[in-house]
Amino acid sequence: MFDLILSQAVNGLVLGFLYVLIAVGLSVIFGMLGIVNFAHGAFFAIGAYLALMLNRDFGWGAALLAPLLTGLIGMLVEFVLIRRLYGKEPLLGLILTFALALFFEAILRLVFGAAPLPFNPPRFLAGFVEYGPVLITKYRIVVLAVTVFALVAFWSFLEYTPFGRIIRAGSRDAEMVGLLGINLPIVLSSVFGIGCLLAGLAGMLSGPLWTVNPSMAAGAIMPAFVIVTIGGLGSYAGAIIAGVLVGVVTAMTIQFYPDWSSAAMYVLMAVILLVRPRGLFGEKWERFE
C-alpha cells in the first residue's frame, strides 16, 4: 500500500504543477490588474487548440509557439477590452471576462465543432519510467520539468529584471508607478499577456493528456480559482504551494475515497479559509482593502 501511496503522491505532484501554471497566471493578473479573469480558462483552451493545430500542420516544434500566440491574443484582448475596466467597478470586470469566456468557447465550437479532437503526446515521449514503486510517464516528466522551469523563469523575471520590478511595484501602487514616468498601459498589457501565455502553456501541456474540446476550460478554471484562494490572492509562492497541495490531496482522495475526489479541493479550501481567511500566503493589500 505504501508503494501505491508514493506513486499517487508523485502523480498528484504533476497534476498539481499543471494547476499551478494555470493559477499563477490568474494570480498575477489579479495582483497587478485587479481583474478577476473568468476568461482565464478560455486562454487555457485556446493554448491547447493552437498547439493541436500547429502540431497537426507543422509538427511539435511549431506547437511550442502556441503559448506565445496565446499571450499575444491576451494582449490584444487587454488592449481592446480589459484596459477600459481599470479603476472601475470590479463587477464590470467579472461580467466582461465571464462574457469573454462564453464568447471564446462559442468561437472554438464554431470553428472546430463540439466534438473532442485527437491529440496525443509525441511519439518520442511515449512510454514510462518505473523507479521503485513510482511509475511516471516520460511525457509527465517533461510536463513537470517544463512547468518547474517556467515557474522558476517567471519568478526570476519578476525578481531580478527591471521590468519585473516595475510589475511588482505596479501591483502595489499603480498610480505611483505611473507618476514615475513609466508607461503603465504597456506594462499592464504585458502582464495580461504573460498571464495568458502561462495559461496557454498549461493548455499546450494538458492537451495531450486531457480531452481537447471547447468546454475544456471548465476543467481548468475551477481548480485555478481554488488554488489562488488557498494560496492567497496575488501570492506567487502561495499559488505554487496550494497547487501542489491540491494535486496531492486529489490523488490521495482518489486512492481512498474516489467518489469524493472532485470535492476534495473544495473541502481543503474551506478548511484553510476557516483557519486563515486570507489564504496561506495572503497579505493585506492597501489597494484591495
Binding site: 477600459r84 462574457a99 473532442p116 503603465l184 468546454s215 486529489t250 482518489i254 467518489d259 472532485s262
Partner: protein, 422 residues
C-alpha cells in the same frame, strides 16, 4: 505616464460607457448566436413547435450536437412541415438537470410545444420526464440510459430510445466474462454510471466473477491517472467502464499514455462513436456496445439515405448519436402525422403503435414501459485504423430477430414500471 492619464484610467465618460455596453452587448449577442445556431425563428404565424433539449456545453456537448443535427434533419426532410403546417424546432440547453427541468417547463409554458425530444444525460432526461408527466406532453428521450426512466419512474408521456444499462449489460457482460473472471468497475457518479455499476455487479455475482475494484468517478474528471494506478495495482482481467461523453475520451488517452492499452482489456456499454474519434487511433481501445454505426452494411435503406444526406450537409459522417436524434424525432413526427392532430393523448397513442423494421427486428416502443426494443451492436476497435471515421469492427448484432427481444430487453414481469393512464 502623467497623472492626467491615470485619471483617465478611472473616469467613466459617456463614450466609454456606450462603448463598453456596446461591446458587452455584442459579445453577448455573438456568444448567444454562435452557441445556438439552430434555434428556429417564428417565421410563420402559429407554426407547430417541437421542443428539443440537448446540451450545448459540457461533457456531452459533442454528442448532443450530433443528436440535435439528426433531429433537425428529420424535420428538414419533411420540408419543415407537419400536418400541412409550418413546423419549427425550439432548442434549449441542459447544463444541469435542474436547468433541463426549467427549460422543459419553458418549452411547454412559453412555446406551447406539442412534444419534446432530447435529454443527453440520464439526470436531465429524468427531470424532463417529470415535466412531461405533469404537463401531459409527449417526451422522447434519445440518449438517456438510466433504468428508472422506463422502470420505476416510467410514465405514460415518456418514451425512451436508448436501451437502459441493464439491457446493454446483458449484451456486453458475456463478452467480458470471456476475457476473464476478475473485473474492475470504473463508473461515473451519476444515474447512468450507478446503473452500470449495479447491473455489472449483479451479473458478476450471478456468474462467479470477482470484482477486484469498484470506483465511482465524478463526472468531468480531468485526470484519471490516479484511478489508472489503482487499476494497475489491482491487476484485473477486464476493466468495465461507465463514464460518459468526453470523460471516456480523457480516460482512454491517459490509459494509453500510462501504457495500459492492450495490457488489460477495457469494455464499456453505450459509447458514442464521437467519443472514440476524439481519442485518436493511437489511443483508441476497447470493446463496446453501440446502437448504430454508419459503416454497418445492415442499416436499412432509409437510414443509409439519412447518413448520406447528413454527410453531404455537414461534411462528416453521421455518428450513432445522429441516428438517435433522427430516430427519436422521426418517431415523434410520424406520430403527430399518424394522430392527425397535435393533441398530446393522440400523439402518445400513436407513439405506442409506432414502429420501423430494422433487419430482423421491428423497432418500436413497448406499451407496458415505453422502452424502445431494437437491435444493439457489439463493436471492437479495429486492429489498424486507417480511416479517421472508421474505428470499429462489428462483432455482433443482438437481438437479431423478434424472438430474441425478450431475452435481451427483459419481460414485462421483470419491469419495475407501473404505467399510469392517460
Amino acid at each position: 505616464m502623467s497623472s492626467n492619464s491615470l485619471r483617465h484610467l478611472t473616469r467613466i465618460n459617456r463614450r466609454t460607457l456606450i462603448g463598453g455596453a456596446g461591446g458587452l452587448a455584442l459579445a453577448h449577442a455573438a456568444a448567444s448566436k454562435l452557441g445556438m445556431p439552430y434555434i428556429g425563428n417564428a417565421a410563420a404565424a402559429d407554426p407547430i413547435r417541437i421542443g428539443m433539449i440537448y446540451a450545448k456545453t459540457g461533457a456531452v456537448a459533442d454528442q448532443a450536437e450530433y443528436m440535435a443535427q439528426g433531429s433537425l434533419l428529420a424535420l428538414e426532410t419533411r420540408n419543415n412541415t407537419l400536418l400541412g403546417r409550418q413546423a419549427e424546432v425550439i432548442w434549449l440547453d441542459e447544463p444541469t438537470s435542474q436547468a433541463a427541468q426549467q427549460n422543459a417547463e419553458r418549452l411547454v409554458g412559453e412555446h406551447n410545444v406539442v412534444g419534446i425530444v432530447g435529454g443527453s444525460l440520464s439526470s436531465s432526461a429524468l427531470a424532463i420526464s417529470a415535466v412531461a408527466k405533469k404537463a401531459k406532453i409527449p417526451f422522447v428521450a434519445a440518449n438517456a440510459g438510466a433504468i428508472d426512466l422506463t422502470g420505476r419512474l416510467c410514465n405514460k408521456y415518456t418514451f425512451r430510445l436508448q436501451p437502459p444499462a441493464d439491457v446493454h449489460t446483458r449484451v456486453l457482460a458475456p463478452y467480458c466474462a470471456g476475457l476473464g473472471k476478475k473485473w474492475y468497475l470504473l463508473t461515473a457518479a451519476f444515474a447512468f454510471g450507478q446503473d452500470i455499476k449495479r447491473s455489472f455487479t449483479e451479473f458478476s455475482a450471478a456468474n462467479g466473477i470477482t470484482l477486484v475494484g469498484v470506483d465511482e468517478v465524478p463526472v468531468n474528471t480531468a485526470d484519471y491517472s490516479s484511478f489508472i494506478l489503482k487499476i494497475r495495482a489491482a491487476k484485473p482481467d477486464v476493466v468495465v467502464g461507465g463514464v460518459p461523453g468526453n470523460d471516456i475520451s480523457t480516460f482512454l488517452k491517459q490509459w494509453n499514455e500510462l501504457g495500459m492499452k492492450g495490457k488489460i482489456p477495457f469494455a464499456e456499454i453505450a459509447v458514442g462513436a464521437t467519443d472514440l474519434w476524439g481519442v485518436g487511433p493511437e489511443a483508441a481501445d476497447g470493446l463496446f456496445t453501440m446502437s448504430w454505426y454508419h459503416k454497418n452494411p445492415n442499416n436499412p435503406p432509409e437510414e443509409q439515405a439519412m447518413a448520406a444526406t447528413y454527410e453531404k450537409k455537414y461534411k462528416r459522417p453521421a455518428a450513432d448519436k445522429t441516428w438517435m436524434g433522427w430516430m427519436a424525432m422521426n418517431a415523434l413526427l410520424d406520430s403527430v402525422e399518424t394522430a392527425k392532430a397535435t393533441e398530446p393523448r393522440a400523439i402518445v397513442n400513436a407513439l405506442e403503435k409506432w414502429g420501423v423494421q430494422r433487419g430482423g427486428v421491428k423497432a418500436g416502443y413497448r406499451a407496458f414501459d415505453h422502452q424502445m426494443v431494437n437491435r444493439l451492436l457489439v463493436v471492437g476497435i479495429k486492429p489498424s485504423i486507417t480511416d479517421k471515421w472508421d474505428y470499429f469492427d462489428i462483432l455482433a448484432e443482438t437481438p437479431s430477430n423478434d424472438a430474441e427481444i425478450e431475452k435481451v430487453f427483459g419481460a414485462q414481469a421483470e419491469s419495475a414500471c407501473k404505467m399510469d393512464a392517460l
